[in-house]
Symmetry: C2
Subunit: 252 residues, 2 copies
DNA sequence: AGGAGCTTGTGAACGTGAGAACAAAATCGG
DNA sequence: CCGATTTTGTTCTCACGTTCACAAGCTCCT
């Protein structure tokens, strides 16, 4: 997260609508839980109920909600519809956000079709790719357009969110173009670290990193304590030993 | 992350190979950065170089690496190949992990084709779906198999990692089957909170949550301080007011 | 009306993570 | 061989996040 944080040093400073980042990341989960409860016809829920549905503990949930205001009723709980609306408003999904997807490979394809994407609050306004072979292809009710049209589209549709689903190689360049065109939030699926100027938010979704984190924990389950203590490499520092090949996943 | 943590209360307890979770989450990033440096023919890198490549600050990187051991050389830096191997070993990607993907919709399709998935360290051994219409379809060099074969496959191929790319509806049931079959790590793409027993790790990748987090920050950029202070809802608590519809993204 | 029973909102304690700063160790030049 | 220089490994401090525990506040029953 790259935000120009204008926070004075003083005490905990929770005034001025400063909701902790960890809380912000959970609000969408609460929103989904509330929607599920609502769909089940449940009108009121306690923090305990909500916490269970959201997979957190109730103290955390209450504290999170308290940053938004006092929307519950002691002795009763929370009104599901009301709280849902308040959270949605706080997150900003009561309005529609225009989104462009850049890079229509396998993943871009999947996202373009992903109905859950159309979670109210987001609207895909364009699918872009630089490959002429892809331009013009129809996906659902949209047509792939040339990446060169980016600037026009961003301006015309007031696009503020860009999704990068290109390979690692062109990702930074695409990112720069997005930023230059006026996009101020980026969701990056390419396996690279993108750099953006202050004021632009960027989030990353990385499959192979998630798998590797799982692998780490998996490794110490089976053996438990039985780590493969391998080549400690003699003091021949400076020379590159003959080590097994391992990849880091820069799958361009 | 749901791990049966066997940690005694005492002091900071960093002994016994306890690497902080935050560090574990960054190791794959370092691994990728090292691979990139290696591919560029760079044999040695300072913490500063590495930190830049990984998008973190150098103090953090050095501290992270120090949990693994003393693999650098003061005054010089880190041997790229050597460090890469050490990190790969620590993560556990020097061995191969068998992976099954359950739910071959758009996303499952994309993941099956995703070459970066085959990042050395992971091997997809089966694509599963319960829909008879999909079973038998060829994707790349694999064939979609019936979900009913799960147990046999997990046992035969010693599968420890499962990826869930089904809709929200069947996700928990699929999860339970995976766990019952012996899978102990799960990567969940379905927009639901899955519950798993202790000892099973679960990680979640959720597109709409990421977008909503971006939207939150986006909302307070344009207006800045100009939050739409809307219906404070009168004290008619208990009644459900007529609010605009908002979704939480339970796109089953 | 009043007390019993819940459930929220929050203050305080605790644990984890981040960053600054520096001592220890290695190289290099003279 | 020694001092200057570089860069790691680590200590210390501060900020952030989580959890506990409880007072405040609401409803319901008698």
């Amino acid at each position: 997260m790259t935000r120009a944080s204008s926070r004075r040093p003083g005490p905990p400073t929770r005034t001025e609508r400063g909701i902790p980042e960890a809380t912000v990341a959970r609000l969408p989960v609460y929103l989904r839980a509330l929607t599920a409860l609502s769909d089940s016809g449940i009108a009121t829920a306690s923090s305990e109920d909500l916490a269970t549905a959201a997979g957190v503990n109730s103290a955390k949930l209450r504290k999170d909600l308290s940053y938004l205001g006092s929307y519950g009723t002691r002795g009763v709980g929370y009104d599901v519809e009301y709280l849902r609306y308040q959270i949605a408003r706080e997150i900003g999904v009561t309005q529609d956000w225009a989104v462009v997807i850049v890079g229509i490979g396998n993943l871009g394809h999947a996202l373009a079709n992903y109905s859950g994407f159309g979670t109210r609050g987001f609207r895909i306004v364009a699918l872009l790719d630089a490959d002429p072979a892809l331009v013009g292809e129809r996906i659902g009710d949209m047509e792939v357009r040339d990446f060169a049209e980016l600037e026009d589209i961003v301006e015309a549709d007031r696009v503020s969110i860009g999704v990068i689903t290109t390979p690692a190689g062109p990702a930074q360049e695409v990112c720069d173009r997005l930023v230059a065109a006026g996009v101020t939030s980026i969701l990056n699926f390419a396996p690279v670290v993108l750099s953006v100027p202050d004021g632009v938010d960027i989030r990353k979704v990385d499959l192979s990193i998630e798998l590797q984190i799982l692998a780490y924990h998996e490794q110490r389950k089976s053996g438990e304590v039985a780590l493969p203590q391998v080549p400690e490499l003699p003091a021949t520092n400076g020379l590159t030993p003959d080590l097994p090949a391992v990849g880091g996943g820069v799958g361009a």
